[in-house]
């Protein structure tokens, strides 16, 4: 176990002071450096790896905030195993290569128990080899395109089956719209999502009348809207991301498509975008998520209240932030359960099956595939940018990284004994071992 994180060396480690970025309550970018001189022996270090600068800082700062809030709450309740959680914050500046560097630093220099981090798939894929080589533990909060299974990563965001399996049939039956026009940004997530939507349409008797991808960051949709008009579609399924979202909704209405004639259904658009596109453009369109700020649970009410109290009354919570928040709790509970911060103990014993009463409802990490059982919900955008929840699943939905109707023979099972034996062997004994399962 020479290259792995040793608990003993972690406990004996230096008592160097470390900076934790704590954000002010008034302006998100006004922050101060808070020096925490925690004694190593009565604290547990948790790495926080989200961009606080650069292009994706907008969303990642909110994830970082949600995780710090959870850590603060856990510490207020007495910490874990009687020890305080101490966040070690690194800023990868929205640069994929810096993510890997910072991950390495957190694992080797800071010797953190686990890292909460990343937002984009690109950043996750750049850090995974680091976590696999040094046997670290990453908790990843974003909804993503799935088809991945790493020993060293737990995924607390939704995979497509949790957002689509009920959404597509709901559009076909409850909305009564059968002809889908699919539009997305031109990269992997929208393409994979639309593959799944097309398979679901075939299964449930819908029709795909058009499919089009716009370059990332595209804000001119007039031509695509002209194509939509000619396609005979009665509903638009959108996987546009970023700046494209607001421009598309605005232009749809300007070209005469109201939410009543042509609802836009999407697994991506959050409260932040609906607020920015304005009431006249947002109201009446549908989004499928596990979580909306309007979810009616006592846990969510107090989560939203505390988040606003800490970061400002105008803050809006969304699904990825909620996952960032509850994954911090899942990690704390797992450490408490195995009474250890050893990565293998957490990976094989602590985290699988771990449950928590999250703001969206009780969630659970799957015993086998490292993904998370989440609730499914469909929201209809209101004039104020928030969503009315028009449908909620009966129960938590099982995460399926390789959905049966597209990949019948693929699955991900970390309880499988042969896989387990192979993965538990130390790195040094098997040169070519990879933490990623070879399926």
């Amino acid at each position: 176990m020479t290259k792995l994180i040793k608990r003993r060396s972690f406990l004996k480690g230096s008592t160097a002071a470390m900076g934790a970025l704590v954000f002010g309550t008034t302006a998100p970018y006004y922050f101060q450096r808070n020096i925490a001189k925690a004694q190593e022996t009565d604290s547990i270090k948790i790495g926080i790896l989200h961009s606080l600068s650069g292009t994706i800082a907008i969303i990642e700062t909110s994830l970082h905030n949600a995780e710090l809030l959870a850590i603060e709450e856990i510490n207020a309740k007495g910490g874990v195993m009687g020890k305080k959680l101490v966040p070690v914050v690194e800023d990868p500046q929205s640069l994929v290569q810096v993510f890997a560097e910072k991950a390495k630093k957190l694992l080797l220099d800071d010797k953190v128990a686990a890292v909460l981090g990343c937002y984009t798939s690109a950043s996750r894929q750049s850090v995974l080899p680091v976590f696999e080589e040094y046997n670290g533990l990453l908790l990843y909060p974003t909804l993503y395109e799935a088809q991945e299974c790493s020993k060293n990563c737990f995924y607390t965001g939704a995979v497509p089956n949790q957002q689509l399996d009920d959404f597509v049939p709901w559009i076909l039956t409850t909305l009564g719209r059968k002809k889908f026009y699919m539009i997305g940004s031109n990269y992997i997530y929208p393409k994979e999502t639309n593959r799944e939507v097309k398979a679901l349409l075939q299964k449930h008797g819908g029709e795909n009348v058009g499919e089009e991808y716009a370059p990332l960051g595209h804000t001119e949709f007039s031509t695509i809207i002209n194509n939509i008009a000619g396609s005979g579609a009665d509903v638009v399924f959108s996987d546009l991301v970023g700046d494209s979202i607001v421009a598309f909704y605005k232009q749809m209405r300007q070209f005469g498509f109201t939410a009543a004639d042509m609802p836009i259904c999407t697994p991506i658009t959050t409260e932040q975008e609906t607020a920015a596109m304005g009431p006249e453009n947002a109201a009446g369109h549908y989004t499928s998520f596990n979580y909306f700020q309007t979810v009616d649970t006592p846990e969510n009410k107090s989560f939203v209240e505390r988040y606003k109290a800490k970061y400002g009354a105008n803050q809006v919570t969304n699904a990825v932030m909620e996952a960032a928040y509850f994954q911090t709790y899942l990690l704390a509970q797992a450490i408490e359960k195995v009474k250890s911060t050893e990565a293998d103990a957490l990976i094989f014993d602590g985290l699988p099956g771990q449950e928590f009463k999250a703001p969206q409802g009780p969630v659970k990490i799957d015993e086998k595939n490292h993904h998370t059982w989440l609730w499914a919900r469909i929201g209809k955008a209101r004039e104020d940018g928030q969503f009315d929840i028009v449908w909620t699943s009966q129960d938590r939905i099982r995460p399926d990284p390789w959905v049966d109707y597209l990949y019948p023979n693929k699955d991900c099972d970390f309880t499988n004994s042969s896989v387990l034996e192979r993965l538990k062997k130390p790195w040094s004994e098997e040169k070519n071992r990879s933490g990623t399962m070879d399926l």
Partner: protein, 290 residues
């Protein structure tokens, strides 16, 4: 001609108008002062944020246009007097300096307004669309944008060709040293042109905000579009901007209509590279007299 194609050609006009609106400020600064303003996209962004503030205070796009013009022209004045005037004769350094200004503006707006997307609505009068021919109603707001583009180009023509100031501008552009010898204050001409070009960028931000997203990072895509327009059109003649914008706008949308947006963008880039091979200085290239 099919109804769909008629709609598509009208859409192409509106996209060309958007490109021309975004590019004209850049073109005039480059054409006269010889500075490629790398912060042009961020100037447009500041114009859009001005429109957002005007909107929050209850004003609409029509009120935002003059305010954005003044705000961004003053910003241009500060940048020109503070930085550019010292380095006019060093093109590489003006590139770097204006690039830096762009980054500063992005961060500054993020500090002031936070990182969220902002909302800017279209004026109520321009709600809805004209349904004459074509498959889609043509939004009144896009007709308005075409009008704005025509007015901006025409106004610039008028200033350059029908005023004393414009006469001096043309003289400076033809032969800077000789103009200076004849008593024209070339530094002042550069400053005023930089302000005017910046102000036009502000107007672009204000009128484009209602149909696009408003965020601190929005500037980049407009900057790319604007550079393409002036590279293709050239800055030797003001007609370069509308010509370049028209060719790119119609070209890209028709190709996107025939194939798809990704292919459309790709083919337009390829066409521009070929066009540069044929017209190295743009369609309306220009040679300074020495």
């Amino acid at each position: 001609m099919s109804q769909a194609l008629i709609s598509q050609i009208m859409i192409g006009f509106s996209v060309a108008a958007i490109l021309a609106i975004a590019a004209i400020g850049l073109a005039i600064i480059f054409g006269v002062a010889g500075v490629i303003n790398m912060a042009h996209g961020q100037f447009i962004m500041v114009g859009a944020y001005t429109a957002a503030v005007v909107g929050q205070l209850g004003g609409n796009t029509f009120i935002a246009i003059p305010i954005a013009f003044i705000v961004v022209a003053l910003l241009g004045l500060v940048v020109e007097r503070g930085i550019i005037q010292w380095i006019y004769d060093r093109p590489l350094e003006t590139l770097l300096a204006t690039w830096g200004v762009g980054i500063i503006l992005e961060v500054l707006m993020k500090v002031i307004f936070g990182p969220e997307l902002l909302y800017v609505g279209a004026p109520k009068v321009l709600d809805g669309g004209l349904r004459l021919i074509g498959r889609l109603p043509f939004p009144y707001y896009r007709l308005f944008l075409i009008a704005v583009a025509i007015v901006m180009v025409a106004l610039t023509f008028w200033i350059i060709f029908r005023t004393d100031f414009g006469l001096k501008v043309r003289a400076v552009r033809r032969n800077r040293a000789m103009s200076g010898c004849l008593g024209i204050d070339t530094a002042k001409i550069d400053m005023l042109i930089f302000m005017y070009g910046s102000g036009l960028a502000g107007v672009a931000g204000a009128v484009l905000a209602p149909i696009k997203s408003v965020s601190t990072t929005m500037g980049f895509s407009y900057a790319v579009g604007s550079y393409m327009v002036i590279v293709l059109g050239g800055v030797g003649n003001l007609l370069g901007v509308p010509t370049g914008a028209f060719l790119i706008g119609e070209g890209e949308t028709l190709l996107a209509f025939k194939y798809n947006s990704v292919i459309g963008q790709l083919l337009v880039f390829v066409a521009i590279v070929i066009a540069i091979r044929v017209f190295p200085r743009g369609i309306f290239g220009y040679h300074e007299r020495r």
